[in-house]
């Protein structure tokens, strides 16, 4: 079969370039410039899928975003994607498409049995049927529904395509390049405004490509080409085709996707498949046009039934006949345009007009062309299963609620036109409450809430002359207020045919005794009877009817079904449409791929990776990484076949016995300067800061106003008005914001400045009994004796020519120092220390060993400072000043915080001295007690104590200190184990803290 339905001439396709593609495994030929839909239609293919619920044969209905049926599984460049609209995807060589929702094939679909069981599939079927027994949902119903329903198949392969995001700012965003869009964009551009004109289709011009009009004696198509080429020349204008503005968000944030790749036969390497645009527009002009409404009749979903404007578009744009024996079924003059186009192409249509005999320019032209017209006629039902073969038509009685006579006539297609529905989706998303316009039986935008204007057909203006006039004027006015320029533009003369008034007829009545299915919503398989059932069952609100029947849901967003649905509800309820109201329009207007939304933020680009200056050294020395926020930190350095447990034990032991080095660059560092710095610290920290001398560090704890510990760390007085604060890695950003808040909002009178210096300094901790000997070799000119540089001392030094800060502070509980140098010298410092430390048996240690060391010393960290503990809970009461006030102090007086049996920190050791206690285990008195077993606390941190060579844990336990010596069970339901433990002090090693001071 070779394009039997392609006209010999005409259309905007490139007949010199045939394109081969596949549909359901068979090869076909189309032309460059075709959509998948037009190419299939050129080959006479109408049966393209099965409907969602009843598995009825379905064919093409529209020619663009209005298409409800033609969702296909499409493969391009080895990438398979479901639910692609065949009317929107452009034909490229090698494209392969297949039907969805049918098995084993579109021609023979087992699910079609649903069609004959349809009395068992009424509205709300799923809600009614699958309610009981409850246990059946998982095991029986859900798997069954999942298999039978659903559209295409999402690929399990990783998406290899590239997607990008782009941000743009403009004065005016114009959505749609029909007459309204072109005129307004042109006027605004002439005034010097920065304009973005977005067109969803590959070709600019909208209805100008298919309407028989002239503008300034040019055809619509030629005029649109002229305007577009002028706009493209202007530096203040961005013109984009294949670009759908699909979302209208707050403050005129518009989101658009651009199909950049799928239409290219050979996509250049770095060209994305799609690009997402975030556009912040000062003004938005919505020239989104309108969509033709169907008229509802029996079996109106049979393949071969089309919107009349779509049939015209297939002829005029693609040179394709959707049928050779069409019926045009219309309630207005638009249908005649299609009829005339058929006639011009050698096809004899029959027009059924629901109106009484009348005259208008178009009707008279049709009459002059000898087109057969039957007035007061309607299609009652289409016949044919997989394709329209004939139709029963009838003469309407005066009230148009019954037929005077009926007859069956042969046809191969039916083109319906039930007048036009403005595309108000974006206007509605902007917060614009719509109003009903009686003269067009549709909703149009009302008062704007954001800076937006709807123009042309989107605003219910259906004549070209008015559209151009309003659009030139609005484009000019709106841009003038931004650019202060006022370029006068001559509004062009137009030539178009006048329409006579349309008929409100929207649904063919059922002849007595007939029970044809009449579909309102094709995509969701919602028939007139379904909506009637919902109303009979008491659903009144249109939002409820929508959810119960699925009317207007899914990708279709009710583009062709919405108003007919409302009309039906209004009729049954004896109301008028504006009383029924309408459902809410939500983004996206058309489906957007997940890839486009995600953009480049995938894999390692999902979030930034922070690396310390010593990163590559760690890498070379077999570091196994752990994520600490965005940072990569060595968890341990693997030697030979060691596992985490063995390696961390070795590293921790080496610190206790000799000396270790740990990369502490990731700790938050904040530089604090100003004459009131001491006073500020005194308010931020719980302990006293006014008397800290220059050259000394102090450990501090800061609270939130609710008394909960926020963070801890050391702060060092570098000089009189200059402090260096450290925070935990995790809280660094929060602490900075916290300090800024108090300085800028609460105590602006304090003369203090804070700035993050985390990335300016590289840090290395050297810890262990040999650390002083090592330090002496690193800084031969400095006296590092205990007297000269005591615990919590600070000194500046010269590390082989590099300025270094030396802090005598310790997280491991050993004699320890932290050395900071400017980041650029971090690796230099690290290698020097490793090099010189060799004679002291230095080894690097990772975060796992670091945890072991701090846990057995009873130092608290994030697992204890978990957003629930106050200083009293974690043995930090010694740091809480009684004399001065500080952030959160008043909360510490709360009754609950001072209860005797409050949960407090303790240590735990398993009785068998062998079993490791899982972190998160619950502490209970009796492991066999009846549920719910009273929980006394939980295990916060666990390690293998290298000092005592047995497991040790920290826990937060009710009445903590008084429980010391008692035996409890640590149970982990997750791992299904329980371990008998003994409660002890949280300081398992070096109770008096002698080592750090040694």
């Amino acid at each position: 079969m070779s394009q039997n339905f392609r006209l010999n001439t005409g259309g905007l396709i490139n007949r010199d370039k045939p394109i081969e593609f596949k549909f359901n495994g068979k090869k076909y030929i189309g032309y460059e410039g075709d959509t998948l839909a037009s190419a299939l239609l050129a080959n006479g293919i109408h049966l393209i899928g099965r409907s969602f619920k009843y598995h009825r044969p379905r064919g093409f209905f529209g020619a663009g975003v209005d298409e409800p049926n033609a969702k296909m599984q499409v493969e391009i460049n080895g990438c398979s994607e479901p639910n692609i609209n065949a009317t929107e995807i452009e034909l490229v060589n090698g494209l392969s498409a297949s039907s969805q929702n049918c098995w084993p094939s579109v021609n023979f679909d087992i699910g079609a049995i649903n069609n004959f069981l349809n009395r068992f599939f009424p509205a709300g079927f799923y809600y009614k049927t699958f309610m009981w027994p409850k246990s059946f949902w998982y095991r029986v119903y859900e798997p069954f529904i999942r298999k039978a329903a659903g559209l295409g198949i999402a690929s399990l392969e990783k998406d290899k395509e590239r997607y990008e995001h782009k941000y743009e700012y403009c004065d005016l965003l114009v959505t749609g390049s029909g007459p309204a869009g072109l005129a307004s964009a042109y006027a605004a551009a002439k005034n010097g405004a920065k304009v973005i004109l977005a067109e969803d289709k590959p070709r600019y011009g909208g209805t100008l490509l298919t309407d028989d009009v002239t503008i300034d004696n040019l055809s619509g198509k030629d005029w649109s080409e002229k305007i577009i080429s002028e706009l493209k020349e202007m530096p203040n204008v961005i013109v984009k085709n294949r670009s759908q503005v699909f979302g209208y968000y707050d403050h005129n944030m518009m989101v658009m996707f651009e199909r950049t790749g799928d239409h290219l036969e050979k996509k250049p390497k770095y060209t994305p498949r799609q690009r997402l645009w975030y556009i912040r527009a000062k003004e938005v002009l919505l020239s989104t046009g309108s969509i033709e409404r169907p008229i509802v009749f029996g079996n109106n979903d049979t393949p071969g039934v089309f919107l009349s404007a779509a049939a015209k578009e297939y002829m005029k744009v693609y040179g394709v006949l959707i049928g050779k024996k069409p019926i045009i079924f219309t309630n207005n003059d638009s249908g005649y345009e299609t009829a005339i186009e058929f006639k011009k192409n050698g096809v004899n249509p029959i027009v059924l007009d629901t109106r009484e005999d009348q005259n208008s320019e178009l009707i008279n032209e049709a009459k002059d062309l000898d087109i057969k017209i039957k007035f007061s006629y309607a299609v009652i039902v289409a016949h044919g299963y997989k394709k329209v073969k004939s139709a029963t038509i009838g003469k309407l009685n005066k009230e148009k609620i019954d037929f005077e006579n009926t007859e069956q006539i042969d046809c191969d297609s039916i083109c319906v036109s039930g007048f036009w529905t403005p595309t108000v989706h974006l206007a509605s998303q902007s917060g614009n409450k719509l109003k009903f316009n009686d003269s067009i039986d549709a909703f149009v935008p009302d008062k704007s809430k954001q800076n937006e204007h709807s123009l042309g057909a989107a605003n219910g203006t259906f004549t070209l002359q008015d559209t151009l006039k309003n659009s030139f004027n609005t484009g000019s006015e709106v841009s003038k207020s931004i650019t202060k320029k006022d370029e006068k533009i001559q509004i062009p003369n137009t030539n178009e045919r006048k329409y006579s008034v349309h008929d409100k007829f929207w649904c063919s009545p059922l002849p007595k005794g007939k029970n044809y299915k009449r579909f309102v919503d094709f995509q969701n398989d919602v028939a007139v009877s379904d909506i009637e059932v919902a109303l009979r069952e008491g659903y009144r609100s249109i939002e409820h009817v929508k959810r119960y029947t699925t009317l207007g849901m899914a990708t279709d967003q009710g583009r062709t079904s919405n108003l007919n649905g409302l009309q039906l509800v209004a009729n049954v309820e004896k109301k008028i449409v504006p009383q029924v109201g309408h459902t809410t329009f939500r983004p996206p207007f058309t489906p957007v791929t997940i890839g486009t939304i995600v953009g480049r933020e995938i894999g390692k680009e999902y979030m930034p990776t922070r690396k310390t200056p010593m990163h590559h050294w760690h890498e070379k020395n077999n570091a196994v990484w752990v994520d600490a926020g965005a940072w990569k930190r060595p968890r341990y350095y693997k030697r030979g076949n060691e596992n985490l447990f063995e390696a961390s034990k070795r590293e921790a032991k080496n610190v206790r016995d000799h000396v270790g080095i740990c990369d502490v660059t990731t700790l938050g560092k904040i530089d604090i300067k100003g004459p009131d710095a001491a006073e500020f610290l005194n308010r931020v920290y719980t302990n006293a800061w006014l008397k800290l001398p220059v050259g000394k560090a102090r450990y501090g704890v800061m609270l939130r106003e609710d008394g909960i510990v926020m963070d801890d760390g050391t702060t060092t007085r570098i000089s009189e008005n200059h402090y260096h604060m450290t925070t935990t890695t995790a809280q660094a950003a929060n602490v900075l914001s916290h300090l800024e808040y108090y300085l800028q909002i609460v105590w602006p009178e304090l003369n203090v400045n804070v700035v993050s210096t985390t990335e300016q300094w590289a840090g290395a901790a050297i810890a262990g009994p040999k650390s002083r000997d090592l330090l002496a070799k690193l800084f031969p000119k400095i006296d590092v004796s205990n007297e000269a540089l005591p615990f919590m001392g600070y000194v500046e030094g010269d590390l082989f020519g590099v300025k270094a800060r030396i802090f005598r502070i310790s997280f491991s509980g050993e004699l320890a120092y932290e050395i900071n140098v400017e980041s650029d010298f971090g690796l230099f410092m690290w290698e020097k220390i490793i090099d010189i430390g060799e004679e002291f048996n230095i080894q690097p240690y990772g975060t796992e060993a670091l945890s072991t060391l701090r846990i057995e010393m009873g130092h608290v960290a994030g697992s204890e400072l978990d957003g629930r503990t106050i200083p009293y809970d974690v043995s930090l009461e010694g740091l809480v000043s009684k004399k001065k006030d500080f952030i959160g102090k008043r909360s510490l007086a709360k009754e609950a915080f001072n209860k005797a049996d409050r949960q407090k920190i303790v240590g735990l050791v398993p009785l068998d001295r062998k079993s490791s206690i899982p972190e998160g285990s619950h502490l209970v008195e009796n492991k066999n007690a009846k549920l719910p077993n009273p929980k006394l606390g939980h295990v916060s941190s666990s390690c293998w104590s290298v000092e005592n060579n047995n497991p040790f844990s920290l826990a937060i336990l009710k009445d903590g200190k008084n429980m010391i010596g008692k035996k409890l069970f640590a149970v982990s339901p997750l791992k299904n184990i329980s371990i008998e433990v003994e409660v002890m002090s949280s300081h398992y090693v070096d109770h008096e803290g002698k080592r750090v001071r040694s």
Binding site: D250, H251, M253, K449, R683, S737, E740, Q744, D885
Partner: protein
């Protein structure tokens, strides 16, 4: 996504800011005698008005200044943004 005018930097996208809650809350003075109830009101209780709301925002990915925004909580309309001392 809101468009917020930082009083120091100008119009910027919401992405650059962090929300800081009710901007009319005044922290009790240090060392001030204060009842449990008053303190709890300060720490925990916030109004969630429908309509105009003065709130704090932090230009966290910009100048790092805290400032105040008068915003309608239902329409997201921003009436004005101003420095905390204004």
């Amino acid at each position: 996504m809101l468009n917020i005018k930082c009083p120091y930097c100008g119009d910027r996208s919401q992405k650059e800011f962090a929300y800081g809650g009710d901007g009319t809350i005044i922290r009790p003075k240090l060392n001030q005698e204060i009842s449990d109830e008053e303190w709890d009101n300060f720490v925990y209780l916030r109004k969630s008005p429908r309509g105009k709301h003065i709130e704090l925002w932090h230009h966290i990915a910009g100048c790092r200044q805290w400032f105040k925004v008068e915003r309608d909580t239902t329409t997201h309309e921003i009436f004005r943004t101003f420095k905390p001392e204004e």
